[in-house]
């Protein structure tokens, strides 16, 4: 029987299974296949905070969603078109997101009475009519995998573990994906265990051939390569792009990097990545705690390196006092906050944008710091280079607000030509003639960076209030007032690019303003409402402090301003306070990114309200 091949412009696939089933790896491999094929793509892993929650339970479900298309896409997709469920828990946790008519591929081997009971199924959904709205494919993946590996001599348990590769093989066949990359990857990954490598390759092929030879699948699908801008691309996650941006900043400034940090989800991958690149004069110190991490970074900055610390919201809370010391001593410092759900320990593996006000105000005293937020996984690279530019030029700690969604999500990245990257070189103070530790550059208001070891510039700095110019301890009321205002003026005067408004129709009355990782869903929603004939303008802020100089005028040139955020309206609060605009908040804090569809509805309602 010949299968029919349908052409699609985009597909969203979600792999879901137990956290021990290797779903992240499976998703990752399918992503690489899509990238190698030339599709545009965006991914969203979703996994529990527990490393191995009890097997087969709802809390133990791990999933990986991948959106790939033949055009430029902005999000990992709202809902899957295809759901691969490796067990009843994965089915139960994810099937609510599958639209009617969606493709559901189920590993039937796990649907025992015991496993069904464990997640509260009274009857087997594969046997009753509860799934009739979907195109269900029941595949005994474990049995088929074990069968395919029979001749390898591998034990049943080891063989069964390769069933995720069976699923990958089947999906690769269904979507006409190239397979060489995955086979090569498996052989490299398990280079030290050739029998396991071979087993995984065999399972992968078994899945592929299963699709080809059985008659269960009448249709296969093709998604053509996307027409992306000319250039060389790779796939990259936000955390990797952040780490690469830090490496680049060191090279562009010709300064060593010292990362002082403490492991924390979802930021640890930045430490893992940077620790591999010592050849770029990068030192990574895994400190005893968050406070030591930033202390080490600040100490290194004092010594003339670029001090960097990476953490998530709870870590920022612990680092606040040292950030304040960085503000007072006016030293460069890069503080990476990969935000997660809060407060307290909150939702470690889920995303949120609720640290904006902590970044802005979370210190004692008047303690202003610049804030930079990347808008997508690949944008982390440029954004962190820019954050370092600010830290070096203005001698200040800079808060970089990434979040769980872009940190772990991935997308294609057009690799920049390193020759085009900005020059970040700085001048250290060296001239003892009239040297004053707290004199200021008239343009930037930055003080000299006078590092220990420089003859004749011996001086003392610290957290006590400084006398203007000399930097000596001063409790003088007028001086304190002056210094507070000077520190504020320095941050307020930081040069940041104007915000660019995207309004292709040019006649929008409604402006949607976002920041950080919501760029994708807001941008996708804006495209959708425009297609419905409803004009909307979109401004996305990378610089949250100071705001771009044109922001006030931009806000005031629209009848209505709406601000979607994954918090309870933190940016909206700042915009209302600073610009006296009646910005309307749309908020959601579910630990998951916005869906383009829901924002489409929100925007459409607002636009219709304004037009009416």
């Amino acid at each position: 029987m010949s299968t029919e091949t349908r052409k699609l412009d985009r597909v969203v696939i979600r792999f879901a299974g137990d956290s021990g089933d290797g779903m992240q790896l499976t998703g990752d491999r399918f992503t690489s296949e899509a990238a190698a094929f030339g599709n545009d793509l965006a991914t969203q892993p979703n996994f529990p905070a527990e490393i191995r929650a009890p097997q087969g339970t709802l809390p133990g479900v791990s999933s990986f969603q991948l959106h790939f298309a033949d055009y430029d896409i902005l999000t990992p997709g709202d809902r899957p078109d295809v759901l691969v469920a490796m067990n009843p828990a994965a089915l139960k946790a994810n099937v609510v997101d599958l639209p009617d008519g969606g493709i559901l591929i189920v590993n039937t081997d796990e649907f025992s009475k015991r496993n069904l009971t464990k997640v509260g199924y009274d009857s087997n959904p594969l046997e009753d009519d509860s799934l009739e709205r979907f195109q269900v494919h029941k595949v005994a993946m474990a049995t088929l995998t074990i069968g395919a590996l029979e001749e390898t001599g591998l034990g049943k348990k080891d063989a069964e573990r390769a069933k995720n590769m069976f699923a990958l093989g089947l999906l690769s066949w269904m979507y006409h994906r190239p397979t060489e990359g995955t086979e090569r990857f498996l052989r490299e990954k398990f280079a030290k265990k050739p029998d396991i490598a071979e087993a995984n390759v065999l399972a992968f092929r078994a899945g592929f051939y299963y699709g080809e030879t059985t008659e269960a699948f009448a249709v296969t699908y093709e998604v053509a390569p996307a027409k992306l801008n000319v250039g060389t691309y790779r796939q990259i996650t936000g955390n990797t792009a952040t780490a690469y941006g830090i490496v680049a900043a060191g090279q562009l400034s010709k300064l060593p990097i010292v990362l002082g940090t403490y492991p924390i989800t979802p930021a640890s991958d930045i430490l893992h990545e940077l620790s591999k690149h010592k050849n770029f004069d990068i030192t990574t110190v895994q400190a005893e705690d968050e406070i030591a991490g930033i202390g080490i970074a600040l100490g290194a900055s004092y010594g003339g390196a670029i001090g960097v610390t990476s953490t998530s919201g709870p870590g920022i809370a612990l680092k606040s006092e040292t950030i304040g010391l960085g503000v007072m001593t006016e030293l460069p410092l890069l503080v990476i906050d990969v935000q997660r759900g809060g407060p307290s320990t909150g939702l470690p593996t889920k995303t949120e944008q609720a640290d904006l006000l902590q970044a802005m105000f979370g210190r004692n005293g008047e303690s202003p710091v610049p804030i930079v937020a990347p808008q997508s996984p690949s944008d982390c690279f440029d954004a962190v280079v820019d954050a370092t530019r600010i830290a070096l030029k203005y001698r200040t700690p800079v808060l970089f607000l990434s979040d769980g969604a872009i940190a772990n999500g991935s997308e294609p990245w057009m690799i920049p030509d390193v020759e085009t990257l900005p020059d970040l070189t700085v001048e250290f103070a060296t001239d003892p003639e009239n040297f004053q530790p707290y004199s200021r550059d008239p343009e930037t208001l930055a003080r000299p960076w006078a590092v220990p070891g420089t003859p004749g510039l011996q001086h003392r700095i610290g957290g006590l209030e400084k006398q203007d110019i000399t930097g000596n301890i001063s409790y003088d009321p007028e001086n304190h007032d002056k210094m507070v205002r000077l520190r504020q003026a320095k941050i307020d005067g930081i040069e940041v690019p104007d915000v660019v408004v995207e309004d292709p129709d040019g006649n929008a009355k409604v402006l949607v303003v976002g920041w950080g990782s919501s760029y994708g869903p807001i941008g996708a929603a804006a495209r959708r409402v425009r297609k419905l004939g409803l004009p909307v303008a979109h401004a996305h802020l990378r610089h949250l402090n100071p705001f771009p100089k044109n922001l006030g005028d931009v806000l005031k040139s629209y009848e209505k301003v709406i601000v979607p955020e994954m918090n309870l309206g933190q940016l909206a609060l700042l915009l209302r306070a600073k610009y006296l605009v009646d910005a309307v908040s749309y908020t959601k804090v579910q630990g998951l990114p916005f869906k383009a569809e829901e924002l489409q509805d929100v925007l459409a309602d607002v636009i219709k309200g304004v037009s009416a």
């Binding site: 004092y302 220990p452 700095i461 610290g462």
Partner: protein, 349 residues
């Protein structure tokens, strides 16, 4: 920066000068603002007198402190200095030492700063063996906050925060440091300039973390805490000064000595024991150093001074630098190659 080996492992890499230095060169232009009679003055003077003998370039010396009375120290030294935040000086100094092998980095801290709010950083710095010299001014009280008990105050201590007496059990800072496997631990009295100078010198020469506990009198909130050690007669009976390689005797004409007892050590009259039973100090023996630290009692019936432990162990900062140097030597820093990674694809027009 020029790396110059001056034969003192702790200072390898720190540039020296032929210019003659005096104590005056190390005094900053800032007015010293400790209370009259504070032990900190003596320590400051001792440090300013001692540093010229190292012959280092002054700009390559850095003092980093936390918060507390003693932490004002850097302001008075004409070197580089940072008065940082409460308890965090060891962390900040670690970052500086890791980044800059050409600096001689000193940490000045107190019993509250190092052992209470900064206890975690202290033990981890010692465990890692970062090349820092940590001077712990122990006055057994919180001075800057005006007189609350500290982690080294004696049980029952009546203070503003413990009107009917503290129920806290105190740290023995030397035991704590040795428990963290510090590679160098010493103790001296603020008033003993020669003894303090000797310990400071050995600390400076040592490559690795050196913790020096300095008994320091607070004349305002805990006056006389160490007076029994400053009375000539009492001191003879109480202070056990140890020197590496020498039998441990103390008192007039070596009246007393230290002998083994069970798993630890005890004080005996030299006349009552065989000379061969007198313990010979071995600063490389961690167990012996620890046992010596236990001879020091909170009530100062006995206290041990000198260098408890001095052992060679790779320092953290040398270790991480070696990894970076090796990586730099074996792999070019090719940014473009890094950004490309293994899997790329090209879109052509």
């Amino acid at each position: 920066m020029t790396a110059i080996d001056i034969g003192l492992p702790g200072l390898t890499g720190v540039p020296t000068t032929d210019e003659k230095q005096t104590a005056r060169d190390y005094k900053s232009d800032q007015e010293v603002r400790w209370c009259p009679g504070c032990g900190d003055y003596i320590v400051l003077n001792t440090m300013q007198s001692f540093l010229p003998s190292l012959g280092l370039k002054r700009e390559n010396i850095v003092f980093v402190s936390g918060i507390g009375c003693s932490s004002r120290f850097p302001y008075y030294m004409n070197t580089y200095g940072m008065h940082s935040i409460h308890g965090r000086a060891p962390a900040i100094a670690t970052g500086l030492a890791v980044a800059r092998p050409d600096l001689s980095v000193w940490v000045v801290t107190g019993d509250g700063d190092a052992l209470s709010i900064g206890g975690n950083h202290l033990i981890h710095t010692l465990r890692r063996n970062v090349n820092l010299k940590i001077l712990l001014f122990n006055n057994r009280i919180y001075g800057l906050t005006k007189g609350q008990y500290s982690p080294t105050s004696e049980p029952g201590k009546v203070t503003k925060s413990t009107p009917i007496g503290s129920v806290d059990h105190p740290f023995n800072p030397v035991s704590l440091a040795l428990g963290a496997e510090a590679s160098f631990v010493g103790r001296a009295l603020d008033s003993d300039k020669a003894g303090l100078t000797s310990v400071l010198r050995q600390a400076a020469e040592h490559r690795g973390s050196a913790l020096v506990e300095i008994y320091q009198n607070c004349p305002i909130f805990n006056d006389g805490a160490f007076d029994v050690l400053k009375d000539a007669d009492e001191a003879q009976r109480r202070i056990i000064h140890v020197v590496d390689g020498e039998p441990i005797r103390f008192g007039r004409e070596g009246e007393y000595c230290v002998v083994r007892e069970g798993f630890g050590l005890a004080v005996a009259k030299s006349a009552d024991v065989d000379a061969s039973d007198i313990v010979v100090h071995d600063a490389s023996d961690l167990n012996l150093s620890f046992a010596l630290s236990r001879l020091s009692t909170q009530d100062l019936t006995h206290t041990v001074t000198g260098v408890f432990r001095r052992a060679d162990r790779t320092t953290y900062d040398d270790g991480v630098r070696a990894q970076v140097d090796e990586a730099k030597a074996s792999k070019a820093a090719d940014l473009s190659k890094l950004l490309h990674g293994k899997d790329t694809w090209t879109v052509v027009g």
